[in-house]
Amino acid sequence: MTEQELRRTAVIIPPTGRAVLCVWAAVPGLFAAPFVFWQSIVAGAGFCLLWGFLVYCLWARACSFAAVLGERTVTVYSGVALPVRQVLPRRAVTSVRLLRTPLLRLGGVSLLIVAAPGAKLFLPAIPAQQAGLLAHILAEDAP
């Protein structure tokens, strides 16, 4: 894949990436659930429902995630009910970090963190090949 090809398409979170994100989000809930069930069954059930809803919200947000590489900017769109758009000039990028945990590797995805003096962009669980290329392009732009 080249930069031109990457610029013609939007980078989205694939189903495996969304699954990884949901697993990450579910872990604290699974850890805390036994302690809540210890208080009462009703509280435990309520907690599980609430946590499940939060994980669902994360999944829905991950579905709406899209990162677009422009000629001079990187733009990230996310959210449907509460839409957020972040625009970061490519020339302002100061560092790029690529993270791959065993779970991310299993899903064939990577976490990309793009930093500029004023802001940070988190591109969670995007396809590893696109993440690598994006990191390479942005690192070349960095001063």
Partner: protein
């Protein structure tokens, strides 16, 4: 490379000031036991703690040092148990400030704060140095070459006029408060009334006096703030060089501010009620995370030559309004809710406790002023592109900030609530180096679009 130099002993005092809180712990224990023996034990423990802290401070002073080499590179060293060195290049600084409060001047010390380019405020470097060292450091890191200086004319006189007006009004309020504070006639006749009635009368008598004293206190605090501003405007000078802007001044407390022109994030003309009254507009300059509390300069309406000379690229936001249809009421919420509550209490008090009405009118009036500030924001807040630069107006309290962004590396962040999405509005946040954020609320999407597109088109 120049020799290693140590910090001023005030650096240790700065450490001690934070650590001395630990000394209160034994005293708290003595207070709980409330006996002479416990007090003596606590004092002994405090003496031991102080001795330990003094030892730690002396180690801190000895272990830390700084050096400045010929190339203008500052090296901050720490050598106790482990060795650490932080290197700061002069070119990598966005701004620096030198502060000399009265206490520092008596001890011959200066506080120098260095703001590296793009770093947040917590990464700024604060150094306590000898006066000469501080000046040398500033001149080597950010040298001032061929400066063009301007002395503020009339600023001191204007500050004195406001200070005098405040002094007179505070005196008048004090007189009123003393008159209100007549002793409560707790006579046998009054006591003969029911207990509750006495309490109500007591409150009805003292609350207006309390309100008057609150006003006196507010006036006095405002006066102190004005006096502080006045002593800071004495000997005030602003200068510019080919690559730098700066200002220095102060009478009892002195300060100096130097900023690299290329690193200025934005300039802000702050419009306050007093500024409107005096037709003088303070201009603040922000570079990296350096946000000085003093303006770089103040200009008068119709006399913008100094402004054009110092900041030739500044563009004022246009005097047009965004579409106000379905604009969010978020501007009114912070002052509107307490204003509504106070107004309700005023109405209730008129029938229940009329003596309290006057007291309650004070916070109501204060919140009404802030509500007027909110209305100003609702009417005027917005963002516009002027000659390729972001210009924006934003309201904060009773201030209206007219901002022109200079830095090319601006990140944008937009947010829409479901209600905003319905009416095609959004909140736009500009993220600037040093993690400085400027938020413009509830603007039409079609007005924000040119700003978003401008980043993609900017060269």
């Amino acid at each position: 490379m120049t020799r290693q130099r140590h910090y001023h002993p005030l650096a240790a005092l700065h450490f001690l000031r934070k650590a001395v809180v630990v000394c209160l712990l034994p005293l708290a224990n003595a207070l709980l036991e409330f006996s002479l023996n416990a007090l003596l034990t606590a004092l002994r423990q405090d003496a031991a703690l102080l001795l330990f802290l003094c030892g730690a401070s002396s180690i801190l002073l000895e272990a830390s040092s700084w050096a400045l080499d010929e190339a203008g590179v500052l090296r901050l060293r720490w050598a106790f148990i482990s060795k650490r060195e932080r290197i700061i290049r002069g070119e990598a600084l966005a701004a620096l400030t030198i502060e000399r409060p009265l206490f520092f001047r008596l001890l011959g010390a200066s506080r120098v704060v260095l703001y590296p380019v793009g770093q947040p405020a917590k990464r700024a470097v604060t150094l306590y140095l000898h006066k000469e060292d501080a000046q040398e450091l500033a001149d080597r890191l950010m040298p001032v070459r061929d400066p063009v200086c301007h002395r503020a004319a009339g600023g001191e006189r204007a500050a004195l006029v406001v200070l005098g007006a405040n002094g007179l009004s505070t005196l008048a309020l004090t007189y009123l408060a003393i008159r209100q504070s007549r002793p409560f006639p707790l006579t046998a006749e009054a006591v003969a009334l029911s207990r509750l009635n006495v309490l109500v009368r007591f409150a009805a008598h003292w609350l207006p006096a309390g309100a008057a004293w609150i006003l006196v206190l507010t006036g006095s605090l405002f006066g102190i703030s004005l006096a502080r501003s006045f002593v800071q405007t004495v000997h005030y000078a602003v200068w510019h060089t080919a690559d730098q802007l700066g200002s220095r001044g102060g009478w009892l407390s002195r300060f100096e501010f130097r900023v690299r022109s290329s690193e200025i994030s934005y300039a802000d003309v702050r419009v306050s009620p007093i500024a409107r009254l005096m037709k003088r507009w303070p201009v603040f300059v922000v570079a990296g995370s350096c946000r000085p509390e003093l303006p770089l300069f103040v200009y008068r309406s119709g006399q913008e030559e100094l402004f054009r000379e110092l900041l030739p690229e500044f563009r004022m936001p246009p005097d047009t309004r965004h579409d106000l249809t379905h604009r969010s009421a978020v501007f009114f919420a912070p002052a509107g809710i307490p204003f509504g509550l106070c107004l309700l209490l005023v109405l209730v008090s008129r029938s229940v406790l009329p003596a309290l009405t006057g007291t309650l009118l004070i916070p109501t009036a204060v919140f009404a002023v802030f509500l007027a500030g909110g209305l100003m924001g609702w009417l005027k807040e917005g963002i516009w592109l002027r000659e390729g630069r972001f210009t924006l107006r934003r309201q904060k309290g009773v201030y209206l900030h007219c901002i022109c962004v200079f830095h090319p590396d601006v990140c944008l962040h937009t947010f829409q609530s479901p209600w905003a999405a319905r009416y095609q509005r959004m909140t736009l946040t500009l993220a600037l180096p040093g993690q400085v954020r400027l938020k413009v609320r509830s603007i039409p999407v079609r007005d924000a679009a040119p700003c978003l597109n401008a980043l993609e088109q900017k060269t």
